[in-house]
Amino acid sequence: MRNLKLPKVPRDWLAPDAGPGQGTGAETCQPAPQNSERGLSAALPRHLLRAAHLTRRQFLFVSGAVAAVASATRPRVARAFSFWRQERFFTDAEFSTLEALVDRILPPDRDPGAKELGVAVYIERLLMTFDCGGVGLYRRGPYSGRTPYPDYRLGTPSSRFPENGFLRSIRPSRLQELYWRAELYGSQAAGIPAELDAAQGGPLIGLRDLYPQGLASVDSVAIATAGQPFAQLSVADQDRVLAQLDSPGVLPIDPRRGNNTFLDIVIQHVLEGSFSAPEYGGNRNTQGWQMLGIEGDNQPLGYSIFSFELGTYRERPEHPMSTPNPDELAPDGSVVPIPLTPDGLAIQQGITQTTRFLELDNPGACNKT
């Protein structure tokens, strides 16, 4: 009977979706079988295949693919301590490589790096969405409880906080589930028609295959460049390997993913995991937003509060809406901008120098019809 016990999962994965209509059904995490951590551990629901195009022959083909992938799985590995990491997709070695890699993409300094922000956990949860019944792709809201309700009488924040609705998620629709299964398991395993794949440049390789392959490539390059797997290198050597990985031709590009390389995909996930709502697994304790000086989600309070007693709005002095930020406002009311870092300025100047004012420089090009 041990198998029937729910695994230890974050509380939010278990929160039932209580809303009527769409999205009903408890968000119980159904763990993968003991020996099938990878591949299509969650069998493809039949209803996904019930599109007009899918013949019985195609269905059998897909079923065969499911079986083939499921047999090529790996043994479950021993659990090492990792805060917030509950269910496992990666081996310990892979997870170490991933944490080290993301931590050089967004490195720690006076603010936390991507590792401390929980980016690797964010990525692992994304890859394991369907090990938990497909929950967690879309957080529900409407409020997180990080800001209170407004007091519409006074036009000030009240002391009443809503519950955290971000802990609940919305069950994907049939098409959304098909899309995410293709994204994670690959388009063929998800049952996307071959013609639709062909029109888009061939089959899509799933993230659950890309990640183990990509992390292995990272370690190969690390060993070739600096003699050790990535996680065991010094920070300076890691940065050397990272620059190597970013050189053209070192990692293959994927035409189905916007000609991005594995490194591009990880960079994208670092940004997502660092700055999305913490309920997705990263941005731990909203430290990602704090380092940017933003509040992130701010409903139901917002930045202007109508007071029906005053008949007008009040703004929040520390987060003004219609006036400059207080830290850039001199006592005489003038604006004193805080200078950007050379890195931020370089981005701005790079954009203006490369795009310039093209249409006026070259108006003839625009008159061509």
Binding site: G19, P20, G21, Q22, G23, H47, R104, I105, D111, L137, Y138, R140, G141, P142, Y143, S144, S173, L196, A199, L204, L242, D246, I267, Q268, L271, F275, S276, A277, W289, M291, G293, I294, N298, Q299, G302, S304, F308, Y313, H319, M321, S322, N325, L340, T341, D343, G344, L345, A346, I347, Q348, I351, T352, T354, T355, L358, E359, P363, C366, N367, T369
Partner: protein, 614 residues
């Protein structure tokens, strides 16, 4: 649970009218039809962000301040991998799959929920554009306008079969029904019989900066007149919904507290509460079953992938111009033709707004994440005389010229860290310009180099209708339903390109006077300059394809929105627009839908003042 994707009266089995689409067109039509006593079936291909929308109490939606869910994971957008579209600039080149051909969100309540709900009216001039400009050319020596006069054959301009005066009561009703904020500070706005229901909300800092910049700019002798931007966003408690709190997650996001007057919480909810409406969501209509002159049923695929049919006495297309036209193209007549296409105009005259962007970097942080995305704009670049009845005659090197551009939005970055900063700096900028990773990326992120400093103007310029700009069926690519995907052919006309060139220096001046440095524009001519990325139009403003007119030889639908060829089929969205004007189209879509739906229902009475509760 998916088999129960139903809102409203589940007991209904027999319907007078079936409406395809639940957005600004379809949701509005359903409301009027139910109010007029009709039993209405609404079919919506998207999912439902408002469980319990038909309950006694208006529910809070599943919308939240969540960048990942909307901007990255496309929760209410179509999934291009499963339902791609193809694009080509002209018929002489092959179309290719393009992920960004004006994809409109798909969900109960339609695309407007995901906009910042801007609701200016069109000008008086717009409804008689062709006859007015032809007359002007006739009496003005040397005046040439691309697409008119001797050049008329290069475009397909037409007058609307109705006037502004005829539409004005419906505009008034639309503003009351959807809850519009705004005031009379735009001299070019059309005359109105009543004030808008609510005053403007709190101004955004960046809107005030750009307004100040605009007041220092002169357009051939007249100083620009920036104004507050009308929007269907509550600035007061109105219609049982709270005032907007300016959370900032506006353009591109659903509204968590229902302050946005999106169709679901205004018109559609009223229909659902009438007892005469049933809405089935996750219901993708794939064909209109017809005998050539009459539609008997629609075929759709439900949320479980099962093919179903629905019958009604009349049918209303409100699936957006590209998809409404595609449904006609997917519905052969017994004679082998396209339904409703005796004019040969189905899918043609597809219009978007040709947007012009001018941007700059402000030295201080301008916190675009606080506000309604846009609180101010300027309408001088629409190029009309005050009141909007006549075009303005400009001087162009000694001769006269007309430049009908569009309303210009004062905006900036919305302060989104992942998509406005991170993705752009690390993944989209060319190597050497961006910051791929490391301390460089982290410093630029903390600066908010783009998200906290980018200031931006967008002109929504009028787009000429052209027979060659069209949607048809792609000959090879099929979507996940096995249906041919829409193929969009689109190139801008000299009418709008010339207008854009005329106004760009003034946009440039506004941004400069606002205090921005490094003013730049996104290149306009990406359709035709091969070294640059070939991009498809993505204004999200779709119009045309089922043009409304009196003459069955040159239009698809009649002045009442009914197909000339099909006695029980109507179009009720932006597809009926003969021209595109230079203003955000949704309020006009609602006004036109009110008018068409009253015609179908046989009701003529209009509500006065704010709508009733409930």
């Amino acid at each position: 649970m998916n088999s129960d994707d139903v809102l409203g009266n589940r007991a209904l089995t027999r319907f007078d009218v079936c409406v395809i689409g639940s957005g600004a067109g379809g949701g509005t039509a359903a409301y009027v039809l139910c109010k007029g006593g009709k039993k209405v079936l609404v079919l919506e291909c998207g999912h439902n962000p408002w469980p319990g929308l038909d309950d006694d109490e208006l529910p809070l939606p599943h919308h939240n301040n969540d960048e990942l869910k909307y901007a990255v994971r496309s929760w209410i957008d179509p999934l291009a991998m499963l339902e791609p579209r193809t694009f080509r600039p002209t018929a002489s080149v092959d179309a290719a799959i393009n992920p960004d051909v004006n994809l409109l969100p798909r969900a109960v309540g339609g695309a407007f929920q995901h906009a910042d709900c801007k609701t200016p009216r069109f000008n008086i001039l717009d409804f008689q554009l062709r006859s007015t400009l032809e007359a002007l050319i006739g009496r003005t020596p040397g005046l040439a306008i691309p697409g008119f006069g001797s050049d008329a054959a290069s475009a397909n301009f037409a007058d609307w079969p109705l006037s502004y005066d005829e539409l004005e009561p419906y505009y008034r009703h639309a503003e009351a029904l959807y809850g519009v904020q705004g005031t009379d500070d735009d001299p070019f706005a059309s005359p109105r019989s009543t004030p808008r229901p609510m005053p403007p909300g709190v101004p955004m800092y960046l809107g005030l900066l750009l307004s100040e910049g605009a007041r220092q700019v002169s357009l051939q002798g007249s100083t620009l007149t920036p104004h507050t931007y009308p929007a269907a966003i509550n600035s007061r408690f109105y219609d049982g919904r709270p005032p907007c709190v300016d959370c900032g997650w506006c353009s591109g996001f659903g509204c968590p507290n229902n302050a946005k007057g999106s169709p679901a919480v205004t018109a559609l909810r009223r229909a659902l509460r009438s007892g005469r409406c049933q809405l089935r969501y996750n219901a993708k209509v794939v064909q209109l079953l017809n005998d050539g002159g009459h539609v008997s049923a629609v075929s759709y695929v439900d949320g479980e992938g099962r093919r179903k049919t629905a019958t009604a006495d009349a049918f209303v297309l409100a699936a957006s111009p590209i998809e409404s036209a595609r449904l006609c193209l997917l519905s052969p007549t017994p004679a082998g033709g396209v339904l409703g296409d005796s004019s040969g105009q189905v899918g043609r005259n597809l219009m978007f707004h040709l947007q012009a962007n001018v941007n700059g970097f402000m030295p201080q942080r301008i916190h675009g994440q606080r506000g309604r995305a846009v609180s101010h704009g300027v309408s001088d670049f629409r190029g009309v005389e005050p009141g909007g009845a006549a075009p303005r005659l400009f001087d162009a090197n000694g001769s006269k010229a007309v430049y009908l551009g569009g309303i210009t939005e004062f905006g900036g970055s919305q302060g989104l860290p992942i998509t406005d900063d991170g993705f752009v700096m690390a993944l989209q900028l060319p190597s050497g310009v961006g910051a791929r990773f490391g301390t460089k990326l982290k410093n630029a992120m903390r600066d908010g180099a783009l998200s906290q400093h980018l200031i931006s103007l967008i002109m929504q310029a009028e787009d000429a209708p052209q027979l060659t700009n069209r949607v048809d069926l792609d000959p090879t690519v099929r979507d996940i339903f096995g249906l041919p995907v829409p193929r969009v052919t689109y190139s801008p006309h000299a009418y709008e390109l010339r207008t854009r060139i005329f106004y760009l220096p003034y946009l440039h001046q506004i941004v400069t006077h606002a205090g921005a440095q490094g003013v730049f524009t996104a290149p306009c001519d990406t359709l035709q300059l091969p070294p640059l990325v070939v991009s498809a139009p993505n204004s999200r403003h779709e119009m045309g394809t089922l043009r409304m007119g009196r003459d069955p030889a040159t239009s698809v639908t009649d002045p009442q929105g009914r197909f000339h060829d099909v006695d029980n089929l109507y179009a009720c969205d932006g597809s009926v627009f003969p021209t595109s004007s230079g203003y955000n189209p949704t309020l006009t879509i609602v006004a036109v839908a009110l008018r068409i739906a009253h015609g179908i229902a046989g009701t003529r009475s209009l509500e006065e003042g704010p709508p009733e509760k409930g």
